[in-house]
């Protein structure tokens, strides 16, 4: 899940300045789950924009990041600007489909999980070299503050990270899990330096 948060409404209004007719476009996937771009948030946004003097029209795409679906949603619509209530990827999918201004209503935070109680936690860095099979299913690249592949560092104490704010030490969790799995011999296995070239941006994949 791509975790997003809503920008302050004032910032959204400022970014739409100069446009009159605004298509407020929600996304049925991650932004709906995050309550930052579902039908309810789209309706609320339209109402608030109208109060600011905009002509706001609501729209919904099942997945904004899928250009085929977004293209269908934009068909026949007339607008000066699109307010994309999605992630940065969804916003840019819309950008590629229209010559009009496209602005985001959200800040895109991370790839993570939704925990009970509306808590969102980062889990994956999209590094392209998945290590989870070797680290007990816990990602050190993402969950260690330093992204160390051979941890823990000297800042780990009581299972917590030196950075503070209560965050857990990923390597303390990994070593505990490896023991639970009976993989003690993997504790102390040297992981080689990463191939950052594999993450040279922007990345592309083409499939036949």
């Amino acid at each position: 899940m791509i975790i997003t948060e809503s920008k302050p409404f004032e910032e959204v209004v400022e970014s739409l300045r100069g446009s009159k007719r605004v298509l407020v476009l929600g996304c049925g996937r991650c932004a709906t789950s995050c309550e930052t771009g579902g039908e309810k948030q789209v309706d609320d946004m339209c109402e608030r924009l109208r109060a600011e003097g905009f002509e706001a029209e609501a729209g919904m795409v099942e997945a904004q990041c899928d250009e085929r679906l977004s293209k269908l949603a934009l068909r026949g619509k007339s607008f000066d600007a699109v307010l994309a209530m999605s992630c940065g990827s969804g916003t840019q999918a819309i950008e590629a489909l229209t010559g009009k201004a496209v602005v985001p209503s959200n800040n895109t935070l991370f790839l993570g999980v939704i925990k009970p109680g509306r808590r969102y936690e980062e889990r994956c860095t999209l590094c392209g070299e998945c290590l989870l099979a070797e680290t007990g299913g816990i990602c050190p690249v993402t969950r260690c503050s330093k992204g160390l592949l051979n941890g823990p560092c000297g800042g780990s104490a009581d299972g917590k990270c030196e950075v503070g704010d209560g965050r857990d030490c990923a390597w303390a969790m990994i070593n505990e899990k490896l023991r639970l799995l009976g993989k003690e011999e993997d504790i102390g296995k040297v992981h080689k330096a990463r191939r950052n070239m594999a993450r040279s941006r922007p990345r592309k994949v083409e499939r036949e």
């Binding site: 009581d158 102390g188 330096a193």
Partner: protein
Amino acid sequence: MSLKDALLSGKFAITGEVAPKRGSDLTHLMESASHLAPHVDAINVTDNQRASVRISSLVVSKALLDAGHEPVYQLTCRDRNRIALQSDLMGAWALGIGNVLVVSGDHPGKGDNPSAKPVYDLDSVQLLGAISGLNSGRDIAGNELHGATGFFAGAAANPAAQDLDAEVARVRMKISQGARFFQTQAVYDAEVFGSFMDRVGDLDAYFLAGIVPLKSARMANFMNDNIPGIDVPKKMIAELEASDDQERTGMEQAARIIKKLASHCDGVHLMTLGAEKNVGRILELAGLKDERL
């Protein structure tokens, strides 16, 4: 005699440490080094310690060398990618710096420029491997060097780690990647250190026990609360509190612990945090004082 030769010859090695300041003036630092020099085999230079902006540890290491001292050039993984790390290392060797100590480095969020980008392109284990590569004439990508290095490489260890199995595993990893000596986190409990060394067994590396003399009970409490891996026993704090000269009592405590540790390790690493002038006295109390350099 170099630190390496001292350890190889079986001599009980003593190292000290200076902490570069934020700014270009080296006067104070050179003064600290001159207090240490008569008593130690080498002087560590910390690298932007506590994730705060400091004058370069490479430059300070060279300044110590020029003043006739032997530096241990500390290098963290926090601020440089593998190109910069290897470049600085080749430069250090070309300048005559032979000892390097590698650590991960405190997270920038803890320092004086908390918005700095954390690099950690390599971790300390991988950087030790890179140094071994440079020593054998290749960079980490396998490219040939015009002139290899010959570093005596060290790393850090924490004898008081809660997960001692994992810590010992990490010590083994560091040795497998080229660490020849270790400087440990501050030790206040000889038994804890002894059981760590028992677990380490006869691994092929030298161990220098970390000593941070306490200046006051307040400092002891601060360290217990703020520094991971530090556990100053309550008894020591009570002794400081009862003293009418806490700094002197702290020096006596440091000397006592050095005496107790001596049979378990290959030397000690004194981190005096500004009180470098006390090192001669501490070593004298520990029965270790001799004129070294």
